[in-house]
């Protein structure tokens, strides 16, 4: 895609993302959202390893904390749908991220927690194979993490 095409797309989307969707401008790789909201952590979602993803997301590394409680199954019923949730007693939480170390892209989801929203999130994620699931909680400007291995016998990433 050329630069011209890119900025034209940007303008279009800024004028009305909904309209773009309707006329099916589709198939643009990644810039669409960057235009709609420049805070999407594009680089972090391209990183292969969890360390690189965390670095891209926060620029520093977390320390394990037993105040981060992850609820995940021992054996996923199917890697396509693994319910994982997290709660924490840490104060001033500003974001929570979920990573799967063996996935082709480690970062799965990153949630921004504004003041007034409780630091607990549940979601369903894909796991390609048996892997460590890592939850990173950003609280008071520091990073804390919890780890758990989830066994996957039916992979959720095809094949």
């Amino acid at each position: 895609m050329t630069d011209v095409g890119f900025s034209a797309t940007r303008r279009l989307i800024l004028q009305g993302a909904g309209a773009v969707a309707l006329i099916g401008l589709g198939n643009l790789p990644f810039p669409a959202l960057a235009a709609a909201n420049d805070k999407y952590p594009d680089e972090a979602f391209k990183a292969k390893s969890e360390a690189d993803a965390i670095k891209a997301l926060y620029g520093k590394s977390p320390e394990p904390s037993d105040k981060v409680k992850m609820d995940a199954p021992e054996i996923a019923e199917n890697g396509a749908v693994v319910p994982i949730s997290v709660t924490t007693t840490l104060a001033d939480v500003t974001s929570i991220a979920f990573l799967v170390s063996e996935n082709p892209v480690a970062l799965v989801a990153s949630y921004k927690i504004p003041a007034g929203t409780l630091p607990n999130v549940a979601n369903r994620i894909k796991m390609a194979k048996t892997s460590n699931v890592i939850v990173v909680v950003e609280a008071g400007g520091k990073l804390y993490s919890a780890n758990k291995e989830v066994k996957v016998t039916v992979g959720g990433c095809g094949g």
Binding site: I75, E77, N78, A80, S85, T153, V154
Partner: protein
């Protein structure tokens, strides 16, 4: 020459496999078709095998057999993956055909709360009519194209109809008609007949081994298995009907599946539904 002996050997192996299985089970000729006794024995087999599982919980399939799975299921049920299909079915059900009629015109009680009566035996035709078949016949009678029997619209419609019957006990009738008994018996035969290169019958997995893992999956008990249909399977990333389950089971054991709604599939659904009489409808369901 070599070919001949290979076939002979293959045949002998099949015979041996069959014999080794037969050994542990009581055999004998069943001359009389006795669905009432069958259903009683069927339930007893499962409740004896799983004394901790309540009868009505068998409709929850593998989730009734494994705690970790049960928890994941409970979590999924908070906002179940069949929700979209269910809503689509509800909309479709009330939307009139081009001629102004609706599905409600084709069914007793407007189609609401009747799923537990299907499949029914139609004495005019002398055959088993499944809910899926009845839905497509309703469409065709009203000048509409039939849907695929295995997923999408058909799964959505049956999901909605099952939902309106949730909790109602399965209530399949076998009229005193030799053709109905023959259909039932044929369904039973299909259920217990080994087929495919893997030499598995439906019963191999769903009677002998429920609760155990085959590769990764925990096998569901045959008792109540149809009560949860249609299902959202994570493995399919979508919804499927009872026909879809039969077709995929056959392929998995390396057998060429029949066409959905072929007589054998209708009959096996009739058999399985009858022996699950009394257990609640739990569909639409979610499965790994």
């Amino acid at each position: 020459m070599r070919l001949r002996s290979a076939i002979y050997l293959a045949s002998a192996a099949a015979a041996f496999a069959a014999l080794s299985l037969a050994g542990a089970l009581p055999s004998g000729a069943a001359d009389k078709v006795d669905p009432v006794a069958d259903a009683k024995a069927f339930k007893k087999f499962f409740t004896d095998k799983f004394p901790k599982v309540k009868l009505e919980d068998f409709v929850n399939g593998p989730y009734s057999m494994n705690e970790d799975l049960y928890r994941q299921w409970q979590e999924k049920e908070q906002f179940p993956p069949y929700e979209f299909s269910l809503e689509m079915g509800k909309e479709m059900f009330s939307k009139p055909f081009k001629n102004g009629k609706t599905y409600a015109d084709c069914f007793p009680n407007g189609g609401i709360g009747i799923r537990q009566n299907y499949p029914i035996f139609d004495d005019k035709e002398g055959k088993v009519i499944t809910l899926e078949l009845a839905l497509n016949r309703c469409r065709e009678a009203n000048g509409e194209q039939p849907y695929s029997y295995v997923k999408d619209e058909m799964a959505a419609l049956t999901a909605y109809m099952a939902f309106t019957s949730r909790g109602k006990p399965m209530d399949i009738k076998i009229p005193d008609d030799p053709r109905a008994l023959a259909a039932y018996e044929n369904g039973k035969e299909y259920f217990y007949t080994r087929r495919g290169q893997l030499n598995f019958s439906c019963a191999t997995c769903h009677v002998q081994s429920p609760g155990e893992r085959i590769r990764a999956e925990i096998l569901a008990p045959a008792l109540g298995i149809v009560n949860a249909m249609p299902i959202y399977r994570s493995e399919w990333s979508g919804m499927g009907t009872t026909s879809r389950r039969f077709v995929t089971c056959n392929s998995q054991i390396r057998g060429v599946p029949l066409s959905p709604q072929d007589d054998e599939y209708r009959n096996v659904e009739y058999y399985l539904s009858y022996v699950s009489n009394g257990l609640p409808i739990s569909g639409p369901g979610a499965r790994p």
